[in-house]
């Protein structure tokens, strides 16, 4: 007997993303990225994002169903991200999902975007089970979550200012590397010497909290000073050193959380976890401590519909559904 087929809609930020999942298997996972729409502004513009979602949601949903080889009547439940995210963007997927569920007479589930990221590793790693420390880092959020069991989460560390992805974006913009900053800095760092510049690692006194706002200032100061002095190092060195500073902090704080909690499993999610250097360093750090690490493929690290469906499958199995009058919650907090 197979489990339910779940359609997951994700429109919390700048990706319209739809996935179909059954029994932890991704049947389809499609997205329409808006990167080009936002690149000229150097960041995500909420109204531009909401406009792009409403243009894409219908045809993309049909594509997800087609790619999964199913008809919409085969869908057993519809899920959509309820929050956190950009309110106007969330409303598009949430309205569409709720109305589709109602018209097909299927249950609807509003899903916490962060819980979606927590479930993403399960789609490729059936062996991934809590308890685990999960590093969630993207352009909009950075936190370290203790997952005691599915549905039982505690945020043990979080950024006190910028998200890690935001730090990448701001520095990349200053360096003239474009948007989004993470992949741009990742590419620009090729061949660079990460040890040549020692940018600050903040919040040494708070083992699991993060801070990145000082990093941009340090980079700006460094580049201006050395530009004036005429001894500016190559861009690849600066990019590599910036990346190393961000990665260092993310890895160290995650490992601190592991030590504090004693758990033996680490996982990750969010766009920043697609960063090659971060994946490499996490792999090394976990291997050195005998910790099992479960990282989703980059396509499942960034925002996607499959993770929304995966989290919804867990909630549905527990008998949870969302009422027809439910609303989006742009400031939803994991575990609340």
């Amino acid at each position: 007997m197979s489990g339910p087929i779940i359609l997951g809609l994700e429109t919390s930020c700048d990706e319209t993303a739809i996935g179909v999942v059954r029994d932890g298997v991704v049947l389809s996972n499609v997205l329409s990225s808006q990167v080009d729409d936002h690149a000229r502004f150097g960041g995500v513009v909420p109204e531009v994002a909401a406009r792009a979602h409403v243009e894409a949601i219908r045809s993309l949903t049909h594509r997800a169903l087609r790619d999964a080889g199913i008809h919409q009547l085969d869908v057993d439940a519809v899920a959509a991200t309820r929050g956190p995210g950009l309110a106007g963007a969330l409303m598009v997927g949430f309205s569409y999902g709720k109305a589709m569920a109602w018209a097909l007479d299927r249950p609807f589930l509003g899903v916490d975007h962060m819980e979606g990221h927590l479930f993403a590793p399960t789609l490729e790693h059936p062996g991934f089970e809590p308890p685990a420390i999960v590093l969630l880092a993207s352009g909009g959020h950075s936190q370290i979550v203790l997952t005691r069991a599915w549905g039982d989460y505690e945020t043990v560390g979080a950024t006190i200012d910028d998200a890690a992805g935001e730090a990448f974006d701001k520095v990349a913009r200053f360096l003239g590397l474009g948007f989004p900053g993470g992949p741009a800095i990742d590419r620009a760092s090729d061949g660079g010497d990460a040890t040549s510049i020692d940018f600050p690692r903040a919040l040494g006194d708070r083992p699991t909290d993060l801070s990145f706002s000082g990093l941009k200032t340090a980079v700006v100061t460094f580049v201006r000073r050395h530009h004036e002095a005429g001894d500016l190092p190559p861009l690849s060195d600066v990019a590599a050193a910036v990346q190393e500073a961000i990665v260092d902090v993310l890895v160290a704080k995650t490992m601190n959380a592991v030590e504090q909690t004693g758990v033996k499993v680490v996982a990750g999610g969010g766009g920043v976890l697609a960063n090659r250097r971060l994946r490499q360093r996490l792999t090394e750090a976990c291997a050195a401590r005998g910790i099992r690490l479960f990282l989703p493929s980059p396509i499942l690290c960034t925002d996607n519909g499959a993770m929304v469906a995966a989290a919804a499958a867990f909630r549905l199995e527990r008998g949870e559904t969302s009422p027809l009058d439910s609303e989006v919650d742009s400031s939803l907090r994991l575990g609340s």
């Binding site: 109204e47 569409y96 109305a99 589709m100 109602w102 018209a103 003239g176 027809l324």
Partner: protein, 234 residues
């Protein structure tokens, strides 16, 4: 013919089910931020009142604006999902057309206004004709002074309807031959009426053509000094 109409382009949201006999069920709420929470329960309520199932529908109609951006999007997303789920055409209707139809009596030229904020309204002029209204010029975004000047220079008696209360009180004061009236908001029943005529004429636009009518580019505030701050390698 059974049509479900969804309207959420202003502070009011409404849903109406109509067939050949007229409005079979309707629901309405005024809540500028409540569109997402209202529309599907309202559909559910109306279908249960009417004893209809979604599969009974022949078409879905939706107000595509102008109006509140997020309200319009919530309405279109909801309508697209319902129309797609039951496989019927989706008919886009202008909020100005819906307001004007609601005022279609008498001989006066009808000015339909929708509040689009930032000191402007969307305005459309209509002529009453037997059984409804016809557009009398293109819709535009207009400020209070320009609207007053237009109404002053127009010698036809005018009835201003829609969200004229969003204008400064002096805008329409003392204008000769100009009256204000109802409806204040577009209604789903009017949206359904307009859509029914178009379905009967065989209109069935491709669903991707049903998009919001914003009439305004996104409000993008860029921190230009930051944006232009380019590194020496740029």
């Amino acid at each position: 013919m059974k049509i479900a109409a969804i309207e959420s382009a202003t502070a009011a949201s409404s849903v109406a089910l109509v067939d050949a006999t007229g409005v079979v069920a309707s629901a309405r709420r005024i809540d500028r931020r409540g569109h997402v929470g209202f529309l599907v329960p309202a559909l559910d309520f109306c279908f249960s009142q009417a004893g209809w199932a979604p599969g009974d529908l022949d078409a879905v109609a939706v107000d595509v604006g102008p109006g509140l951006f997020s309200g319009i999007r919530a309405g279109i997303a909801t309508a697209q999902a319902v129309a797609g789920a039951v496989g019927v055409p989706l008919i886009p209707v202008s909020s100005l057309d819906a307001v004007a139809l609601g005022a279609a009596t008498g001989h006066r030229r009808i000015w339909a206004l929708i509040d689009v904020r930032r000191g402007e309204v969307a305005a459309g002029a209509y002529r009453p004709v037997p059984g409804g209204v016809v557009r009398d010029g293109a819709a535009e975004l207009i400020g209070p002074e320009a609207l007053r000047a237009t109404l002053e220079s127009d010698r036809t008696d005018a009835l201003v309807v829609g969200e004229w209360q969003a204008l400064p009180a002096a805008t329409l004061r003392g204008l000769h031959g100009v009256k204000t009236g109802r409806p204040r908001y577009p209604a789903a029943a009017a949206v359904a009426d307009i859509a029914r005529n178009r379905v009967e004429k065989g209109e069935a636009p491709h669903p991707d053509e049903v998009r919001p009518r914003y009439m305004r580019e996104p409000d993008v505030t860029i921190n230009w000094s930051d944006y232009r701050e380019e590194g020496p390698w740029a």
